[in-house]
Amino acid sequence: MSEHLIEIEHLRQYFPAGGFGKYKKFVRAVEDVSFYIDKGETLGLVGESGCGKTTTGRTMLRLYEPTGGRFTFDGDVVFDVEKKQYADMLPYRKRMQIVFQDPYASLDPRMTVGDIVGEAIDVHKLAANKEERFERIISILERVGLNSEHANRYPHEFSGGQRQRVGIARALAVHPEFIVCDEPISALDVSIQAQVINMFEDLQEKMGLTYLFIAHDLSAVKHISNRIGVMYLGRMVELADSYELVDRPLHPYTKSLISAIPIADPKQARASQRIVLEGDVPSPLNPPSGCAFRTRCPYADERCAAEVPEWKEVEKGHFSACHHIDKCN
């Protein structure tokens, strides 16, 4: 019996990208990612577009078929690619849910909000009759700050923030234990983001939820997460307690990521020294040998090109993968 609710080991996800036979090419979207999440905890996942953070979340729910790795949920194996063990997903879909990024695209425009939330209740047969179904829908809508009046309306009648609430209500409809929040606030206006973040926190407290919170906005992720993992080009480069990660980042990529964030405080912004990274993220179709970050890293040498840095616990609870942690700190 494992003590962690979620345990991911050596997760890999490749997507075919043309070519035949031995010339077949793959986009290595997720490469050897391992982490755990405890019950009631929030793990944040940050990184730039194309770093594999969304793919990690979706592969965990088996919205994509994993290429490799093992995922245990509350001690039971959900999938173990090496041993070819795949659990029946239906019971797990009740325990794990996802909130998508774009509240405009992720809701069926031809279904009422009540039906969007009710569909999950139907699939998992959570309501014995119509009254119970209706009551359940209303109680969930109220939980996310909507009311019974909204149940008969269509998504286009709602603002972005309200739509995201509907998306959250849909995820909550089956009373899950674990929710993958895939950039749930990126598409919202600044003044609405804080509302939604607070709601995520309240729901977690009331319902004992566990979150994987995926976003590219490190300030928001730091606010909501207990621990944060930083991804770059399909690999996890650093993982630590969220205050620790922001205050004392070890990996050169994390350092530059933090310094690149514009500070909403003019005096600090004028005083701060930015580490501006050269160049762009390499293509995941053709990633650099060795350390994926070496093409933009100021500390890179031959060893970085030759060997993939090992994922190790540098300090207690602070993991990183870099050959030169001593040199750059």
Binding site: S159, V190, P262, I263, D265
Partner: protein
């Protein structure tokens, strides 16, 4: 010579949609000197882009300018014909858009798209224009410019495309560059590169910049002046320090309070602005922010607040400030 490069006075602009009149801009005034950087912040639909586009004469149908004066570099924009506008656009004012993926033409090479602007506005011949294009690519920090000139937009990354957009915008050394959310579609590390580049170019070429964004972090590091817009009005205007350290309008205060900060030492609950953004089809009678404002008074719901000034630059439109200033004045007497 006019004192200001840009002088917009009491601009009113509406979109006449089938659902009714959308008052996109109400009484908007903006002044900008040469070489200044102004940030316009606000939520989607607050009118920040519409203000900037109208200055370029790019108000899209069914939008209509209803009143106000728009002066730019001695030109009266509101009275100019499309033909006259075309001489100014891309020459004296340039714009870079949010999405570099869709604002470049996919079927023309980068070189083609840059030389087009140069040949349109100057009397350079083909070879000279090409040389200038190459120079511009170097200016915006693109390596191997000769190779890039022959490439198509899809062959470049997002950051590179935005650099190309900047190169096109700077082709004729404009006096004013409008940057409409230039980094929103980019990753943070690339955003840092582009912002750095824009500041460098500003110092080198001495142009003024209007920076439209919803990211308070971006304006804090780049701008000298900030206009905060809400529901088609400028609710507060001031220097960057005024806005961040001495905000007067409840919306500005709420906005600054609601963003999560990176430098907190312990968990603090965010203080959001409650409610939803205004429906511009049915705006409230008084102050548009009143329904969401926690300090709203009776008068806020009835009448639009007048301007309250604090010093030369800083002003806000809020009844609460009016009241405070009035009481201050009364206690002095």
């Amino acid at each position: 010579m006019a004192e200001y490069l840009v002088d917009i006075k009491n601009e009113r602009l509406s979109f006449f949609t089938p659902a009714g009149e959308v008052k996109a801009l109400n009484d908007v005034s903006i002044r900008l000197k040469e070489g200044e950087v102004l940030g316009i912040v606000g939520e989607s639909g607050s009118g920040k882009s519409v203000t900037a586009y109208s200055l370029m004469g790019l108000t899209a149908h069914p939008g209509k300018l209803l009143g106000g004066e728009l002066q730019f570099n001695g030109h009266e924009i509101e009275t100019m014909s499309e033909k006259e506008m075309r001489k100014i656009r891309g020459n004296e004012i340039s714009i870079i858009f949010q999405d570099p993926m869709t604002s470049l033409n996919p079927v023309y090479t980068i070189g083609n798209q840059i030389t087009e602007v140069i040949r349109l506005h100057t009397d350079k011949d083909g070879a000279q224009a090409k040389a200038r294009a190459r120079e511009l690519l170097e200016l915006v920090g693109i390596n191997e410019p000769d190779k890039r000139l022959k490439q198509y937009p899809h062959e470049l990354s997002g950051g590179m495309r935005q650099r190309v957009m900047i190169a096109i915008a700077l082709a004729c050394e404009p006096k004013l560059l409008i940057a409409d959310e230039p980094t929103t579609a980019l990753d943070v590390t690339i955003q840092a590169q582009i912002l750095e580049l824009m500041m460098e170019l500003k110092d080198k070429l001495g142009m003024a910049i209007i920076m439209i964004t919803h990211d308070l972090g971006v304006v804090a590091s780049m701008c000298e002046r900030i206009a905060v817009m809400y529901a088609g009005r400028i609710v507060e205007y001031g220097t960057t320090d005024d806005i961040f350290y001495n905000p007067k309008h409840q919306y500005t205060k709420g906005l600054i309070r609601s963003i999560p900060r990176l430098d907190t030492k312990e968990h603090e609950r965010l203080i959001p602005i409650e409610g939803t953004p205004v429906d511009l089809l049915n705006p409230p009678a008084g102050c548009p922010f009143a329904p969401r404002c926690d300090a709203a008074m009776k008068i806020c719901l009835r009448e639009m607040p007048p301007e309250t000034s604090f010093g030369d630059v800083h002003y806000t439109k809020c009844w609460l400030s009016q009241k405070e200033e009035f009481e201050k004045g009364a206690s002095h007497e």
